[in-house]
């Protein structure tokens, strides 16, 4: 029984690409955005957009008239489902490659399927460093890893000590106890320890918590100067709200690409969202750094409901689509081996990436991946670090709840 679902019209040349994201379940919000992001990129590639300044936008399709056709799949945030959906995409739907799949825990088994089938797996934003340490030959990841982000956090912390005389010594961690949170926290701890900071609080919590009282109390009791946070969605708002209720804040709070960078967070939390910091790969406020994004984002906004701009995670999925298409175009063939080699061999133009370029090291990590440290000020993501890209000085220490 085939579930082809699409018919190839006579004469039309189609490259099927599978998308694999958590469209339902606890990570559905992010997953749906990622899916929309890939769809946006595919639309730009398939049609002529002379005014969009992104490779392949100006031409129609690739490889002389091939159109990209997306086949969407939902892994619900579950590794077992992700693995079987990946197999279905390859075997049943006959997709050429898969883009996905947000959760690192799912990306691992799903990309395993691709690797042993000798097919390409493009990963946008899964952030576990382990993914690109597996020496896979057909796995490529666009985003920086938690490892790099953690080192960045430490760098910022040191910089604040240095430039701002902040006297930051102790670090606390709060993270959802999932594959992602745990991994991020481990990296954070490692980096902080290496730089001589003292870890005074290590607070994992079960995602989807009914309250975060004990978690925040524990933080408050240990009173770290800096917090590295990895909380998603509802948990992030709950965390911030709970800190407010307990009338406590660290001097600095830095967040992995998570709840912090959600484009609607400022709407949800209002002014309470301010003065938190985090790693950011993209935000509409970066327009001057990444001028090409605006036009693409217009399409993206139409595909999201409620309509939102790109965020650092979802935009990476569009990058993945663009880079893959560029590689196919450049390789001039659909041969997986050749395309994979081409991907490795070149440095790719990527106006949607903060670094502007994409290039892969062995294992598939994008070595040009970059993120900035931003701080929410007045509801906007202000760039605060590194200095050469900054547009604002950080507000530091965070303004206590009572004085806002």
């Amino acid at each position: 029984v085939g579930f082809a679902g699409t018919t190839v019209l006579a004469g039309e040349k189609v490259i099927k690409i599978g998308t694999l994201f958590p469209l339902t379940g606890p990570c559905a919000l992010a997953g749906q955005r990622c899916q929309a992001s890939v769809a946006t990129a595919a639309e730009v590639i398939n049609n002529q957009y002379p005014d969009i300044n992104v490779p392949l936008a100006a031409q129609k399709g690739i490889l002389d008239g091939y159109r990209i056709e997306l086949v969407h799949a939902d892994h619900q945030g579950k590794p077992d489902v992700g693995k079987s959906e990946a197999e279905r995409l390859f075997n049943q739907e006959g997709v050429y490659a898969i883009i996905g799949s947000y959760n690192s825990s799912v990306t691992k088994p799903a990309s395993f399927v691709a690797e042993r089938k000798k097919k390409i797996f493009m990963c946008g934003c899964s952030s576990s460093a382990a993914l690109t340490k597996r020496k896979f030959k057909r796995f490529f990841r666009m985003a920086p890893t938690d490892e790099t982000e953690s080192m960045e956090f430490v760098e910022v912390t040191e910089w604040l000590n240095h430039a701002g005389n902040a006297g930051l010594e102790t670090v606390g961690l709060i993270y959802e106890n999932s594959e992602f949170g745990k991994h991020a926290a481990d990296e954070g701890k490692k980096a902080a320890k290496a730089a001589g900071f003292k870890i005074v609080a290590d607070v994992p919590f079960s995602p989807g918590a009914t309250n975060l009282n004990s978690e925040v109390r524990t933080l408050k009791a240990n009173d770290p100067d800096v917090i590295y946070g990895a909380c998603l969605g509802g948990d992030y708002t709950l965390w911030v709200r709970t800190m407010k209720q307990m009338n406590w804040l660290p001097k600095v709070a830095m967040n992995y690409c998570t709840g912090y960078q959600d484009p609607v967070i400022t709407k949800q939390l209002g002014p309470d969202a301010n003065y938190f910091m985090g790693g950011t790969g993209y935000s509409p406020e970066f327009a001057e750094l990444m001028p090409a994004v605006a036009a693409v984002e217009k399409i993206y906004k139409k595909k999201t409901n409620p309509s939102v701009p790109f965020d650092s995670d979802s935009i990476q999925e569009a990058v993945a689509m663009f880079v893959l298409a560029q590689a196919i175009e450049k390789a001039g063939t659909l041969d997986h081996e050749k395309v994979a080699q081409t991907l490795y061999a070149n440095e790719w133009e990527s106006p949607l990436s903060l670094g502007g370029k994409v290039a892969f090291a062995e294992g598939g990590q994008n070595i040009k991946a970059k993120s900035l440290i931003t701080q929410l000020q007045g509801g906007a993501y202000k760039r605060v670090f590194p200095a050469d890209l900054a547009d604002t000085r950080p507000v530091f220490p965070m303004i206590p709840w009572g004085d806002r």
Partner: protein, 333 residues
């Protein structure tokens, strides 16, 4: 009259044996790996639910805790391969034994509880185990265990391109577990199980040591469940607590059995044969739409089946049989 019923039963069993005899040649007939995948899952989930059925169906102790044993089995395989870089077999066997021991250990306090109190206790146990495994570094904690690329074959119980190996594995598992239950059903142990379910006091008045019976049922059920867990780890190449040791997984054991017909031999198979394809095909059809349409349809279908036939699919079959009998009786008269 008596002969007739025996004859009919024989026909039924012959038909069943014929179907099972055909099962091994299935891989030759099916080219789609997705269909194979669905078949494998049907066999696996039927086996899991049958293992659950020993305790939950025959013995009447509704456990929402079986994902603990399933998880232990999965961790056994996973740790053997990932942590100790061995073949999965010793891990699975040890884990199955551990699962049985854990079952016996937790059942001591739990068996004092009746009905829903027991059910909630088992579910509390899942939540506890899940959260402990999430922070237990030795078993991988929240990071879970990811399979490395190992050689294909029976020794590693790992196949990449073809699904036939997994299919036969699932079939053997299915054969073992259904065989065990079939044996139980016809022997003293099975009668005692049901007697304990229907009335513990009565059973004891007839000389049945209900505590021992329940312990045995729990241990056996856990052991078999763990075997299925090991298979699942090998099949999915990853083990982590939300995947194998969650309440959601535990619910599947219960749902499939209830849907098929609780406390019956064929129930788990029927339930899995309906629920799994429903789940997989609705997802294949509508999952990509993104709005959870597949899950809405899936949920609605469950509700409709229950409304139409609260006794499960076995109930539907029984109704059909009754109707058939009545019409044939009329015809005969």
């Amino acid at each position: 009259m008596q002969n007739m019923t025996i004859d009919k039963k024989d026909v039924f069993w012959c038909a069943l044996v014929a179907v099972f005899a055909l099962l091994p040649v299935v891989p030759g007939l099916i080219t789609s790996t997705f269909t194979m995948h669905v078949l494998i899952l049907i066999l696996l989930f039927a086996s899991m639910s049958q293992a659950w059925n020993i305790l939950g169906g025959y013995c009447g102790q509704t456990s929402f805790g079986h994902s603990v044993f399933f998880g232990i089995g999965a961790y056994g395989a996973g740790m053997a391969v990932v942590t100790y870089e061995l073949v999965p077999w010793p891990g699975v066997i040890i884990a199955a034994a551990v699962a049985a021991v854990v079952a016996v250990a937790i059942s001591y306090p739990c068996f004092k509880l009746s009905g829903h109190y027991f059910a909630i206790a088992t579910f509390a146990i899942v939540e506890i185990f899940n959260r402990l495994f999430m922070v237990w570094y030795w078993v991988g904690g929240a990071l879970g265990l990811d399979y490395p690329l190992v050689d294909e074959g029976t020794l590693n119980f790992m196949w990449y391109e073809s699904k036939n190996g997994y299919y036969y594995g699932a079939l053997i598992l299915f054969g073992i577990i259904f065989g065990v239950v079939r044996w139980i059903e016809k022997h003293r142990f099975g009668y005692y199980l049901r007697a304990v379910r229907e009335g513990q006091e009565t059973a004891e008045s007839l000389g049945v040591d209900s505590t021992r019976i329940k312990l045995a049922a729990f241990g056996l059920s856990a052991f078999l469940t763990a075997l299925c867990g090991g298979f699942y780890a090998q099949y999915n190449l990853r083990v982590d607590p939300p995947m194998v040791m969650s309440l959601e997984m535990a619910m599947k054991f219960v749902l499939i059995t209830i849907l098929g017909g609780i406390g019956t031999m064929a129930g788990p198979l029927l339930g899995a044969a309906v629920l799994i394809p429903l789940q997989e095909y609705t997802r294949a059809l509508w999952g990509g739409l993104g709005g959870g349409v597949d899950l809405i349809v899936f949920g609605l279908l469950i509700v409709v089946v229950v409304i139409k036939q609260p006794m499960g699919i076995m109930g539907i079959l029984r109704d059909l049989k009754k109707r058939f009998k009545r019409t044939s009786a009329k015809g005969g008269a």
